[in-house]
């Protein structure tokens, strides 16, 4: 028997799996946000209007919402190794398509399809949970999520330079193409280098695929309600594309999509019913009961944190470039300051939450988030650039630490359902991204930041309904002896 320390510099056993997995996630983020830092060039080559650029950004995140659900199910069935490899390989195709796009329609379709790569997060979460003992899981998932998210910063930081090296109007095409090649190549490396579980692993409890379990009648309806926004936002996006607004879709196509979304919602309702119909006649054993409102609160918070991160990462390079009249390379580098914080703040949020209590930390971070975005809303060309960068970094700290703190609470709600709760929470992050970018398409940057600040205030109110999850039942005394915490005597 041997033990493995949690050593970040190690590249063996579970640490090796962690490194290989966050790199996979990192690459999905590079590919997913490879357009953001080069929007100006893309806009010029393809001759896009401002509205079309904003539409591209929204389309880029839309498909991630349904894709997450499907990818989550596939991971349950086939395991993370093969699903991650397939995802990386498959979505390199729309990436190449985007690199070769000549019209707005081509680019829009490629970008819409590429949104599916945003579903990578859940796969790695599953992988990491197979390899790490529970006491290291928070940190490991923080590193996975945080370092992976850093991919968008890396894209912002490097791709404009890569484009410049190839030069010309088509430089961005090569830069985008290269990210596709990296993704494709890495899919093979990943497949060859990891295994789903440590040796000698055990069988899984059959999961209720497709729907989250709830444990009371009220929670059943609550869950149905919480599923609506995921479809509503896609329906709204369709409306934006319909003849009434942008006219990218025909009336028939738009109606077709709406009918499809309604049908999909009812399929999901049916699944929820199949999994949960027992709550209507048999009481759930106390050991398995939990309150769904805890999940709902985390969903709202992740909507505001991760959702705003994705939205801001998409628009920030363009925002800096136009506000401060910077070169694309410079704007990309400055904008990457936002995502740069990911390296530390996401794991940091988990750590703070472990140390100082779940609810207080979340309250402070959410308040900071609201203030940060309010400050971002004030940024204009009269500000010195450095101050704008500091504001972006401060704001991003609260956003990403908030994400870490949300995911530190997820396993404490109902351990048995951790995977499904994480899946639903993550999906709300994507819903947030689409919502914010849809808002961005309609308003200017300053209003956009104010809207995020307002939803953060909403998140703060929702947080008041969160019940501090039950924590440790034992404590370690100064002399090193472990004692039970006396709950009631």
């Amino acid at each position: 028997m041997s033990t493995e320390k949690f050593n970040l510099l190690s590249f063996t056993g579970k640490m090796r799996v962690l490194h290989l997995t966050w790199i996979a996630f990192f690459i999905t983020f590079v590919v997913w946000f490879n357009l953001a830092p080069m929007l100006q060039a893309i806009k010029a080559t393809l001759g896009l209007t401002d509205a079309e650029v904003k539409m591209l950004l929204t389309l880029n995140v839309a498909l991630a919402i349904p894709a997450r659900v499907i990818v989550g199910m596939l991971t349950d069935k086939y395991g993370p190794r093969i699903v991650y490899s397939a995802l990386l390989a498959l979505f390199s195709l729309p990436c190449f398509a985007f690199a070769m796009a000549d019209t707005f329609t081509q680019a829009a379709i490629a970008r819409f399809l590429l949104g599916g790569i945003g579903a990578g997060f859940v796969i790695g979460i599953r992988m990491v949970s197979e390899w790490f003992p529970h006491n290291e899981l928070g940190t490991a998932e923080g590193i996975y999520g945080g370092w992976g998210n850093f991919g968008s910063a890396a894209a912002a930081f490097t791709l404009p330079t890569v484009a410049l090296i190839f030069g010309g109007d088509d430089g961005w095409r090569y830069a985008v193409g290269i990210t596709g090649v990296i993704s494709l190549v890495y899919s093979f490396i990943f497949y060859a280098s990891v295994s789903d579980t440590p040796k000698g692993s055990t069988y899984f409890r059959p999961k209720n695929l497709g729907a989250l379990e709830v444990t009371s009648k009220g929670d059943f309806y609550f869950l149905l309600l919480m599923k609506i926004p995921m479809y509503a936002i896609l329906a709204f996006l369709t409306y934006n594309l319909s003849p009434a607004k942008m006219g990218m879709l025909s009336q028939t196509a738009a109606i077709g999509i709406w009918v499809f979304l309604v049908a999909l919602y009812f399929v999901e309702v049916k699944k929820i019913w199949d999994v949960n119909k027992d709550v209507f006649h048999t009481p759930v054993p106390e050991m398995h009961q939990y309150q769904f409102k805890q999940v709902a609160v985390l969903n709202v918070l992740y909507f505001a944190t991760f959702g705003s991160e994705l939205a801001v990462v998409s628009m920030l390079p363009l925002f800096f470039a136009t506000t401060f009249e910077l070169s694309p390379v410079m704007a990309g580098m400055v904008a990457s300051a936002y995502a740069f914080m990911n390296l530390m703040s996401r794991p940091g949020g988990g750590w703070l939450s472990d140390r100082f209590g779940r609810k207080p930390v979340l309250l402070i971070l959410t308040a900071g988030l609201a203030i940060g975005y309010f400050a971002m809303g004030q940024v204009n060309s009269s500000w010195p650039l450095w101050l704008a960068v500091v504001a972006a970094m401060a704001c991003s700290f609260f956003v990403q630490a908030g994400e870490g703190a949300v995911f530190a609470v997820v396993p404490l709600i109902k351990r048995r359902l951790t995977g499904q709760i994480a899946g639903m929470t993550g999906a709300y992050g994507n819903v947030g991204a689409v919502t914010y970018l849809a808002v961005f398409a309609a308003v200017d940057a300053s209003t956009f930041f104010f809207v995020i600040a307002a939803t953060a205030v909403l998140g703060f109110v929702a947080l008041l309904f969160l019940e501090e999850p039950q924590g440790q039942m034992a404590e370690v005394r100064e002399d090193g002896s472990v004692e039970l915490i006396n709950v009631s005597s």
């Binding site: 028997m1 529970h134 055990t202 069988y203 050991m287 351990r415 034992a474 090193g480 472990v482």
Partner: protein, 591 residues
């Protein structure tokens, strides 16, 4: 003063169920119209953990009247049966325990009769016993004594008389204790309900009393159970019984029915300790080293002032705080460890911590079989056989105790520095006697590890010792080749559902240096179907030591395709090629 927690009771008895089985027993026996009484009855209800694990016993016997020693036969049977039954190991199933006890009782009776060498003086007796454990009555029966179940005002005869009517309407016993060296007993497990009454009687009673009378008397409110039994016997005498009259009533006053929330509370009474670091102490055990930290458990090397040598402390992972199945297994592990006292199985030491859930085990210095395999790639058959011999010694300990390990894998076999092999991790052991205790806990996943566990678990079946043999077969194969014989991709997510999904990969391609019969031995040891596996560890070991002539013949007589697949296909291809050439020639010639 703290009362004993439920969890502590569970650790002591191996059973989580509350100790609420309540029986009232009353019996009566009288010589009746005869001079001597050849009937006998006895009953015993133990207390505490013995009642939980062994149950209560009631039995009745009727010595065959032609023999002078018949009263000895019946009396010895009922008394010895009870004392011997409670002396059997706690882990044996009731059926195993009873059949072994009765077998030796039968042999003794038969040999007593044989010593006298007179046929008319045989020690022969009928025998009917009910062992009541958890919510089931296990009835064992031979002869013409009877067991009835009185439920909802109806009397149901559970047993069948083993008699044959020959000339002159005279009945002859065809089955009874002491008739023959071979004993055949009927085994009838019967689910009980609260308020049930079991009624055991000899032919002197049940042939002379109407069923309605038995029902009425057994339910007469003012009488004690003993008085009821007597009233029934008296009724039989009044009805003209010319035989000894004996009957026994067992009333099921309360059954151990548990509430699932209650069970869950009991399981979570003990707190899973937090993950410990070097220097931390729990109940006085100081962590010297963290040996293993994984998603299922945490294992530490610890020291304690009461022990000279360091010990192993194993705590479950907090991932299992809501997994009743795992917690029950972990609590039970302690009990299993105590029952298996063998140098081939890691010892679990008792500890008096009352708050946290963990085990203490002896520390074995050595390496796991997994490490051994890494250090000895492609070992000789000889060295593998030597290890197997040791491992099988350990597995026999389980087999004898009526247990199945269920999670045998290279990580769970430790080779000590002294060369002795020890089997560790008793968290998934299936115990025959505990299987008989009804449980309300949800059972979900098959326990054990992917690739090593026998197919019958995955298909929802019960463990038998050949299930461990399967795992051993897989391990042997892996020792020899470094890989497992069944490639079950992604099996832990979607387990195979049918036996044919297990495809044995021949050893031939991986170890060309090993003779073909070794492959056949391993294929038989880990055959997906239990019925086709070896029926004993010894046969497996024997075949692996000396080529089995039957298998050798199979190899030599196997079709070419099986013996030399490449050569077979080469020949087939050559023939096809020739055929095509001939066809081409004919076509050209015709054209």
């Amino acid at each position: 003063m703290m009362t004993k927690t439920k969890a502590a009771t569970a650790i002591e008895s191996g059973v989580l169920q509350p100790d609420t089985l309540k029986l009232s027993i009353g019996g009566y026996s009288d010589a009746g119209a005869k001079d001597g009484n050849d009937d006998a009855f006895a009953a015993y209800t133990p207390e505490g953990s013995v009642k939980l694990i062994k149950g209560a016993v009631a039995c009745i016997a009727d010595g065959v009247s032609c023999s002078e020693n018949s009263h000895i036969a019946s009396q010895t049977s009922v008394t010895n049966f009870i004392s011997d039954y409670y002396a059997t190991p706690d882990s044996w199933s009731i059926r195993d325990s009873v059949s072994r006890v009765l077998k030796s009782l039968n042999n003794w009776l038969f040999s007593q009769g044989g010593l006298l060498n007179r046929n008319d003086d045989a020690y022969v007796t009928t025998f009917t016993a009910a062992v009541i454990k958890s919510t089931t009555a296990h009835i064992f029966h031979a002869g013409d004594t009877r067991a009835y179940l009185l439920r909802d005002n109806k009397l149901e005869l559970l047993t069948q008389d083993h008699c044959r009517f020959l000339a002159g309407n005279k009945s002859h016993l065809v089955r009874a204790l002491g008739i023959d060296t071979r004993l055949e007993m009927d085994y009838l497990p019967t689910e009980l309900k609260q308020g049930d009454v079991l009624f055991l009687s000899t032919d002197g009673v049940h042939e002379f009393v109407q069923e309605q009378d038995i029902i009425a008397l057994a339910q007469s409110p003012s009488l004690s159970w003993e008085e009821k039994a007597k009233a029934i016997a008296v009724k039989a005498l009044a009805g003209g019984s010319d035989d000894n009259v004996t009957c026994l009533l067992v009333s099921v006053d309360e059954l151990p029915l548990e509430d699932i929330n209650e069970s869950h509370r009991a399981l979570t009474e003990l707190i899973i300790p937090p993950v410990l670091d070097v220097g931390m102490k729990i109940d006085g055990y100081e962590v010297l080293k963290v040996l293993y930290s994984g998603t299922r458990s945490h294992v530490y090397l610890v020291k304690h002032p009461n022990y000279q040598r360091p010990l192993i402390l194993k705590a479950p992972s907090e991932n299992f705080t809501e997994d009743a199945q795992y917690l029950e297994g972990f609590i039970r592990e302690q009990w299993v460890g105590r029952k298996l006292n063998s140098p081939y199985v890691m010892k679990i030491l008792p500890h008096d911590g009352e708050k946290f859930l963990y085990h203490l085990c002896e520390y074995v210095e050595g390496e796991t079989l997994r490490q051994w395999m890494l250090e000895h790639p492609l070992p000789s058959l000889n060295s593998v056989r030597d290890l197997l011999q040791e491992i099988i010694r350990g597995l026999r300990v389980f087999q004898r105790a009526g247990m199945v390990h269920r999670d045998l894998k290279p990580e769970n076999i430790v080779i000590g520095n002294d060369g002795k092999v020890k089997i560790i991790d008793l968290g998934t052991v299936q115990v025959d006697s505990l299987e008989e205790v009804g449980s309300v806990l949800e059972n979900g996943v098959p326990v054990g590890s992917v690739n090593y566990i026998a197919p019958e678990y995955l298909l929802g079946g019960h463990g038998v010792f050949q299930s461990d043999l399967f795992s051993l077969g897989v391990i042997t194969y892996e020792m020899l080749t470094g890989s497992v014989p069944y490639a079950l991709e992604n099996a832990h997510r979607s387990p195979p559902k049918q036996l044919h999904q297990w495809h044995y990969q021949s050893l031939k391609t991986k170890r060309k240096d090993l003779p073909a019969w070794v492959d056949m031995v391993l294929e038989k040891a880990c055959n997906p179907s239990v019925a086709r596996r070896y029926p004993a560890y010894s046969e497996f070991l024997h075949d692996l030591t000396k080529p089995n002539p039957v298998m050798l013949r199979q190899i030599n007589q196997a079709p070419l395709m099986e013996r030399h697949p490449e050569r077979f296909w080469m020949v087939v291809s050559a023939i096809l090629f020739l055929l095509v050439m001939v066809q081409a020639y004919l076509l050209v010639a015709a054209g």
